[in-house]
Amino acid sequence: MHNRTGEEKIWTALLYGVSGLVLFFLMAPILAIIPLSFNSSTFLTYPLEGFSLRWYREFFASDSWLRALKNSFIIGGASAVLATALGTLASLGLARTNFPGKGLIMALVLSPIIVPLVITGVGFYLFFAPMGLTATYPGLILAHTALGAPFVVITVSATLQGFDLNLLRAAASLGAHPVTAFRRVTLPLIGPGVASGGLFAFATSFDEVVVVLLVAGPTQRTLPREMFSGLRENISPTITAVATIMILVSLALLATLELLRRRNERLRGAKH
C-alpha cells in the first residue's frame, strides 16, 4: 500500500532534515579540525590563511610528542597482545560448556567496561603504588590489558557462536591432538574474530587517558595524555596535526575491522 499522504510526506521530510543535521553534528568536529592542521596561521580560526605542513614538522621535531606516539604504540600493542591471549582462551572456555558460576564469571569479565574509568584508575594506583608498579610501563600495560580484555571476550565469543563444534569432533576422530585441532581448525576459522578483538583492545588503550593520568609517570605519557596537557594549557595548532594523525589511525582501525568482518562472514558462509 503506497498511497503517500501529505501527512506522511511532512514526516519524511522532517525525518530526513533532522537526521541530516544530526549526522552533520556528528561529523562536523572531525571535518573542522583536519583543515586547520594544514593552515599556516598560528590562530585556530577560519578562514584558512594558506597551506602549510609546519604543524606536522613541529610534531615530528618534538621529542615529547614523538615519545608519546611511541608510548601509545608500545602500551597499546603490548596490552592488546596480552588481552587477546587471555580473552581468547577465556572465550573458548565460556563458549564450550556450562559450569557453575558461569553467569557470575561473565559479569565479572565484562565489568571493566562498565566500571567508571576513574574508579579503575584510582583502585589500580592506590593498590600498586606501594609495589612500585605505578609510573612504569608494565603497570600501565597491565591496567590497559584489564580494560581491553572484555572487548576481546565479546568479539571472540560472537565469532564462536557461529562455530560448528562437529569440526573439532571430526578432527579428533581423524586422530588430531586437541592442540593440533585448535591450531589447524579452530584458529583459522575464528582468526578474523580474534584479530578484531585485538584491534578493539588496541583501540581501547590508544584512546584511554583517565587511567594514564593516574598511573603513568612523565616518561610513559601517551598521545591522549599529551593532548590532555596541551588542551589544558594554551592550545598550539600542533594539536590539530596530532588530532589528524589520530583520526587516520582510527580510520585505519575501522577499515581493518570492516575487512575482518567481511572475511569472517565469508568463512561462516563457506560452512553451510
Binding site: E7, E8, W11, L15, V18, S19, V22, L23, F25, L26, M27, P29, I30, A32, I33, F43, L44, Y46, G87, L89, A90, L92, G93, R96, F99, M106, A107, L108, V109, S111, P112, I114, V115, P116, V118, I119, T120, V122, G123, F124, L126, F127, T145, A146, A149, V153, I154, D207, V210, L213, P224, M227, F228, I235, A243, M246, I247, S250, L251, L254
Partner: protein, 407 residues
Amino acid sequence: MSIAATGLKAELRRAERARKRRAFLLVLPLLLFLIVTFVIPIGDMLRRSVHDTELAGVWPRVAQQIGDWENRSRLPDEALFAALAADLAESRENRSLATAARRLNYAIDNGRSLVFGTARKLPDSAGSWKQAIIEAEPRWGDVELWGAVAQASGPLTGFYLLQALDLKRTAGGDIVSVPSNQAVYVDILLRTFTVSLVVTLLCLALGFPVAYLLATLPTRLANPLMILVLLPFWTSLLVRTAAWIVLLQEQGLVNEAMIWLGLIDQPVRLIYNRIGVYVAMTHVLLPFMILPLYAVMKGISPAYMRAATSLGASPTRAFVKVYLPLTAPGIAAGALLVFILALGYYITPALVGGAADQMISYFIAFYTSDTVNWGMAAALGAVLLTATLILYALYNRLSGSAGMRVG
C-alpha cells in the same frame, strides 16, 4: 540395568566433568588476572572508605587509650591526655605531625592549627597532662572535640561515607547535616545526575530519528550513512574534545556562523561552561544511543506499520501506537547505557567545563592525586560505583546479554 550400562553412564558423567573442568581452566587465566589487577584493587579502595588507620598509625597511644574512654559525655581522664602528650612529642620527633594534623583537620574545624599549636606550646613535663594540654589549647577541654578524635582514630569509620552525603556524626553519635557552608558533596552528586540526565535526553532526541532513518533505508543507502556514525565513535575522545574547543571558542566557527546568520551580534560564551559540557558529551555519547536503537528498530517488521495504516490509522497514529512501543527496549537500553557512561565522565567536563561543571569523577581523581585524601576519594568512589552497578543490573535485566554488544 546392566553393569555395562551403569559403567557407561559413569564414564559419560566423568567425561562431562572433565570437559567442564577443561573449560573452566581456559577461563581461569583471565579470571585470575582481573581479580589481581581489577577486583582486589577496587575492593581495597572501597575498604579505605570505611577503614581508616591514618591517625592510629601516627598516634598509636591515643588510638589505644581512647577505647577506654567510656563515659563520652564527660572529658576523658589523665591517661588519655598523657597518651596525647606522648604521641604529640613522638610525632614531632619523627615528623609525622603533619599527617595527624591533616587527618584531624578533616574532622575538626581548624584541626591543623590545633595540632601544631598544641605541639608547640606543650611543656616537656607536667604534673597533670590534662591541665597542661587544656592550658596550651583550651579547645581540648571540649567533649565534642574528643568525640571527633575518637571517630578519627578508627579503625572503622563512617566519617567519609557520611561526608560524601554531607552528613556527619556528632560526639553523641547522632547523624546530622553538616553546616551549609561545608555542604558540597550533595551538590556534586546532583550536578552529576543532572548533567547525565540532560545528556541522555539530548542523545535520545537526536539519536532516535537517525536510528529510525538507518533502520528503514535500504542497506545500500544505510551502510554509507552508518559510517558517519561509526567514524566519530571510533575517533579518540581527546580528538573530539579538542575539536569542540576549537569550534566553540569565541572566534570559533559556531560563533561566526551564528553572527553571520544574524542570530547574535556578539560572540557568546559556549565553552568552559555547562553549554560546552552538554554539546561535547552529547557528541561523544550519541553513537551509544544510536547503535542499540538501530539494533532494535532493525528487528521491527515494516508489516506492522503497513497493517496499522491499512486498518485506517494515520501515519502519525500508527507510528505512536504501533512503532514507538516496539522500540521501548531499544530506548531503555540506549538511555541506560548513555546515562551509566555519562555518570563516570571526567575528561570532557574537565576540558570543556568550568569550575561549576565538574562531576564526581573529577573530585575522585582530585582527592587521589592532588590532596591525598584517599578516604574521601574512596567514599565518593563507593557512591559512584554503587549507582553505576545498580543501573547496570537494571540495564542487563532490560536488554539481556545481547545488549552488551558495543559497536
